[in-house]
């Protein structure tokens, strides 16, 4: 077999071998778990620091503006921001720009309040604390004290209570969501008279304290499409609402101009961005452990190295085989 044939064979390698390689480098790091350290960037620190300044009197929006296809990247971002808000007792409004985003919001909330999750929050449904509302107890510290004085005890592993209607509300999806954003600049209640579960928004303390987007301190849009730009166009530019992006890795490059212009406070780009936020949460004592994004970075390290090796091998074969002198290659290359 001549040398040229070896290079030609290499260039024409059956793509199923490449698929097998990607499969292996995607699975093995999950089993081994290298846990390589991650350094944080100013883009993610910008969001973290902004969030860290917020307290019980403040509120944020988390936009679940993605479909299940990109949940591997977007979901950890939303979960990390939600944990941060719950830790600081900052109220959270959850919306969805796309129909399937509503299901993603439900999943994120279920995850953060699931007893199987490390450092979970114990959820109190809206109807379960109706008596306290009627008694005028709606401030977070007073509510928690009254709730616990009535014999309610945090389960083992739980790090705090979250009251539906006070600490969070799941608003869900509405069609033509860019118009909904515009409408919410005037009144949230006119756009969402009831929440996802059919509870009246007007009775919720979260809404009494934050009636429109003008009373909200930050909107974090986690997005797998250009939906995130709608928050800039219709909320940031109209009323000056601070915006933060959590976007997929391939989209992250598109939105650097918004960071430089100061239109967004920061950006989490892909799984890396989510992992950085998890690292910041851990370093600042907000969570005890990192989460899924951090674990996933080992897989990304391995697969990126594998792809780069493929590129290098492909170029070696291309030049060593003299194919760069040919105008057209044979076969599938």
């Amino acid at each position: 077999m001549s040398a040229v044939n070896i290079w030609e064979k290499m260039l024409n390698v059956d793509r199923r071998w490449i698929f097998l390689g990607i499969g292996i480098v995607s699975i093995v790091p999950f089993l081994i778990g290298f846990g390589m350290p991650i350094t944080t960037t100013t883009e993610v620190e910008g969001i973290f620091n902004y969030m860290n300044e917020l307290g019980p009197d403040d509120a944020i929006f988390i936009g679940f503006d993605f479909a299940p296809g990109t949940q591997a990247e977007n979901m950890p971002m939303a979960v990390a921001v939600m944990r941060h808000a719950f830790h600081n007792h900052t109220s959270v409004f959850m919306t969805a720009y796309v129909p399937l985003g509503k299901g993603m919001a439900v999943s994120a909330l279920d995850y953060v309040t699931n007893p199987k999750t490390d450092g979970y929050y114990e959820r109190v449904l809206f109807e379960d604390w109706a008596d306290y509302r009627e008694a005028g107890i709606t401030k977070k510290d007073e509510l928690t004290a009254a709730w616990e004085s009535d014999g309610n005890v945090l389960s083992e592993g739980a790090v705090g209570w979250v009251f539906e209607g006070r600490d969070y509300v799941l608003l869900g999806y509405l069609p033509l969501f860019h118009l909904v954003i515009l409408g919410m600049t005037g009144s949230i209640e006119t756009q969402f008279p009831v929440d996802y579960h059919g509870n009246s928004i007007g009775e919720m303390p979260i809404l009494m304290e934050h009636k429109s987007l003008r009373d909200v301190d930050l909107a974090v849009t986690t997005s797998g499409s250009s939906a995130c730009v709608a928050w800039i166009t219709y909320a940031r530019e109209k009323i000056g609402l601070p915006i933060a992006f959590g976007v997929t890795g391939v989209m992250a490059t598109d939105y650097f101009p918004y960071i430089q212009s100061g239109q967004i406070v920061g950006q989490m780009g892909g799984l890396r961005g989510a992992a950085e936020y998890e690292v910041l949460l851990k370093e600042n004592g907000i969570t005890e452990t990192t989460d899924k994004a951090f674990t996933g970075m080992d897989v990304q390290s391995a697969s990126h190295i594998f792809i780069i090796l493929l590129i290098v091998m492909g170029n070696i074969a291309f030049f060593a085989g003299g194919f760069h002198k040919q105008t057209r290659l044979k076969g599938r290359r």
Binding site: L11, V13, R15, I18, F19, G21, I22, G23, S26, M36, P37, I38, T39, T41, A67, P68, G69, T70, Q71, A72, L100, G103, V106, S107, D110, L174, P175, L176, L179, G186, G249, A252, T253, D254, F256, P257, Q260, G270, R272, M297, D298, Q300, S301, A302, S303, H304, I305, F306, I307, I308, L310, I311, M313, G314, N315, F318, F319, H324, R332, R333
Partner: protein, 214 residues
């Protein structure tokens, strides 16, 4: 008449909304609020039109036993099945969007895995495409290739093994050359959108009318 009326509606509506944005008067706000109420209603009719059109197309395919007509069932059954479980069948019978509802089950155990799998397949095809297409054939191709390798390595923790210069260089590429290129593209697209919108508002561009514009 068939085209003059739509053209007039677009022109009046377009100019009105354009001016409204710059006028902070209460009458201007009333127009805006009316628009906010009207637009979702118009959108709902568009939805009915879309669902109707899709249903007609696929029922026609099934009736005619056209090529791959079996797949049309895969469109029609979920198209009507999901709303049925979500809106009509009560939660107690497995409908609604409760955690234990059938609607939620179908979403979590069919839709989510299907979409996640489709997106995950990209990794396999990207690897194969990178091997076959990423060649340093010219100076520009070599620059592209090097930039891609640096950014790829800089984005993952293993990049730090080669030294901090690698992630820093990757970030520099993203923050400066990438930003400049993206901004130029965005400006170009923005001006293009502005020009197209003006052409539509003033009736120069009439393709949106379909056959009626000719």
């Amino acid at each position: 008449m068939k085209r003059t009326v739509p053209l007039m509606i677009v022109m009046v509506g377009g100019i009105l909304m354009m001016l409204q944005y710059f006028i902070p008067h209460q009458y201007s706000q009333v127009i805006f609020n009316n628009y906010l109420e009207w637009a979702p209603i118009v959108g709902a009719f568009a939805l009915i039109l879309g669902v109707g059109s899709l249903t007609r197309l696929h029922t026609h395919k099934i009736r005619r036993k056209a090529k791959n007509w079996q797949y049309s069932w895969a469109v029609l059954i979920p198209l009507f099945g999901m709303p049925l479980f979500g809106l009509i069948i009560p939660q107690s019978l497995g409908g609604g969007s409760d955690v234990h509802g059938v609607h939620d089950f179908l979403f979590m155990h069919i839709q989510v895995p299907i979409q996640s799998t489709m997106f995950s397949l990209l990794a396999f095809y990207i690897a194969s495409a990178a091997f076959r297409a990423f060649r340093a054939k010219s100076a520009l191709a070599t620059i592209l290739l090097l930039a891609a390798v640096i950014v790829m390595l800089g984005q993952v923790p293993i990049g730090d093994v080669f030294g901090r210069w690698l992630p820093n260089t990757g970030l520099w590429i993203l923050r400066y050359p990438n930003l400049a290129a993206k901004r130029a593209i965005m400006l170009g697209v923005g001006f293009g959108m502005l020009a197209t919108n003006l052409k539509i508002i003033f009736g120069v561009e009439r393709n949106w009318l379909g056959g009626a514009g000719k």
